[in-house]
Amino acid sequence: MADMLTVRVNGVVMCVPPGFTVLAALDRAGTRTCRTSVTGEPRGALCGMGICQECRVTIDGRSHERSCMTLCQDGMEIVTGD
């Protein structure tokens, strides 16, 4: 397990294998809501391939990053719901 990565999802620490996307990490954490729409509705991943933009989250302080297109890195800070 030496090569597991540690990330934090909304402050909660979890371990994921290398090659995991942020979206996969969210799924493992049981988090379905990635972001909040302009009218305040919850939004989650739809296409899983970078097109629909529904899976955006804040990664290491950068808002609106697509979780389905981003690989987990050790120490990554992921925040959902923005």
Binding site: V38, R56, R62, S63, H64
Partner: protein, 369 residues
């Protein structure tokens, strides 16, 4: 019997403001436009309501119009997204601080609140601005608006219905529709924006193309409409191509990024080269703009006159044709004053500002370089 007292051709922000004030003055108004109200140039803009100082006439018109907007503000519906954000004019060089000083003196002498801000003060006002910028001018009285919805509200308030038809000719107390029908009125207002010369030959109006980009939501990163002091040189020169830094934070947290100016006729396509320059300029003033996602880019055509002032009043040679067009990049700001000036003329009453600088016959067609 005539079909109306006044027929307004064009339901952009200008036609809507004319309908609003003319009906208040007691006129029966019909407004004609083949497209949905407020969806041409009015939908392409930033909606910055701004007092300008490039000439006494421009100042008088913009300051008067901004006062009229402020008077309306409390009644504007939420979708009009009126927000008193003020304007932060930013100097890009030490030399430009002299422009800030002069602009401040000009505004203050005419009763408009303005404060020169130092480098440190500016960093405190808007921390996202590059901290090496030397300072600027803070004008707290300006505001922003979602112009399409404001135009629709003005139309609703006026109670006029919009005839969804194209006008193919106007004059002699008549507007001819594309289905061949004639509408009669004592006055026909040409408020067709950049298309106005197609209906009144000889009007010196040319389309001046602009691009805007809108980003994803970055709430709180900027809170004021922020633009460079060099904007005036870009906007009010007649250069064939120019860009200036201009960002407007929207109520949603999105950023509207401008602005570009080109004389290229009615070519609606996105010019990637000029958009690149526009975004680079934005990043120079606001470094974190580098990380922003642009989600949409569009273009629009400002109705531009050779002296950058609109044409407001009767057309030479036909007393039944009045013009309300040529507002270039300030038509949202100056719409209410335009409507008021024409309504005053209709009611034969004095206006709050001198209408003479906007007289239609002051500039000849073909005067564009």
């Amino acid at each position: 019997m005539a079909d109306a007292d006044v027929i307004v051709v064009g339901a952009g922000i200008i036609g809507a403001a004319c309908a609003y004030f003319l009906t208040q003055a007691g006129a029966r108004v019909v407004i004609v436009d083949p497209t949905a109200p407020g969806t041409v140039c009015t939908a392409a803009c930033m909606g910055h309501l701004v007092v300008m100082d490039d000439s006494e006439a421009q100042f008088a018109l913009t300051a008067y119009s901004c006062r009229l907007w402020t008077d309306l503000a409390a009644r504007l519906p939420r979708p009009a997204e009126y927000e008193p954000r003020g304007t932060l004019w930013v100097a890009s060089t030490r030399e430009e601080m002299a422009i800030a000083e002069a602009k401040s003196a000009f505004y203050r002498a005419r009763g408009v609140e303005a404060h020169v801000v130092t480098q440190g003060e500016m960093a405190a006002l808007e921390p996202a601005l590059d901290s090496s910028l030397p300072g600027g001018l803070w004008v707290p009285g300006d505001s922003v608006l979602y112009a399409t919805n404001a135009a629709r509200w003005l139309l609703d308030q006026s109670g006029t219905t919009v005839l969804r038809e194209e006008v193919v000719a106007m004059g002699g107390g008549r507007a001819t529709l594309d289905d061949g029908r004639d509408l009669e009125a004592s006055v026909i207002v040409n408020a067709a924006g950049a298309a106005a010369p197609a209906l009144t030959t000889g009007l010196p109006i040319e389309p001046r193309k602009g691009h805007l980009a809108i980003t994803d939501r970055y709430p709180g990163v900027l809170t004021r409409q922020t633009l460079e002091l060099g904007y005036l040189a870009s906007a009010h020169g007649q250069a064939t191509e120019s860009v200036a830094f201009n960002i407007q934070p929207r109520a949603t947290g999105q950023m509207l990024i401008g602005s570009s100016r080109e004389f290229v006729g009615f070519a609606p396509g996105v010019n990637r080269a000029i958009v690149g320059k526009m975004l680079e300029r934005a990043q120079r003033f606001v470094p974190c703009a580098r990380d922003w996602h642009v989600i949409r880019i569009w273009t629009g055509f400002r109705p531009c006159t050779p002296d950058n002032l609109p044409l407001i009043g009767p057309a030479p040679g036909d007393a039944t044709v009045w013009i309300a067009a040529g507002h270039e990049g300030l038509g949202i700001t100056t719409s209410l004053a335009t409507g008021r000036l024409l309504a005053d003329r209709w009611a034969a009453r004095d206006s709050a500002i001198d209408p003479v600088p906007f007289a239609v016959d002051r500039v000849a067609a073909g005067a564009h370089g």
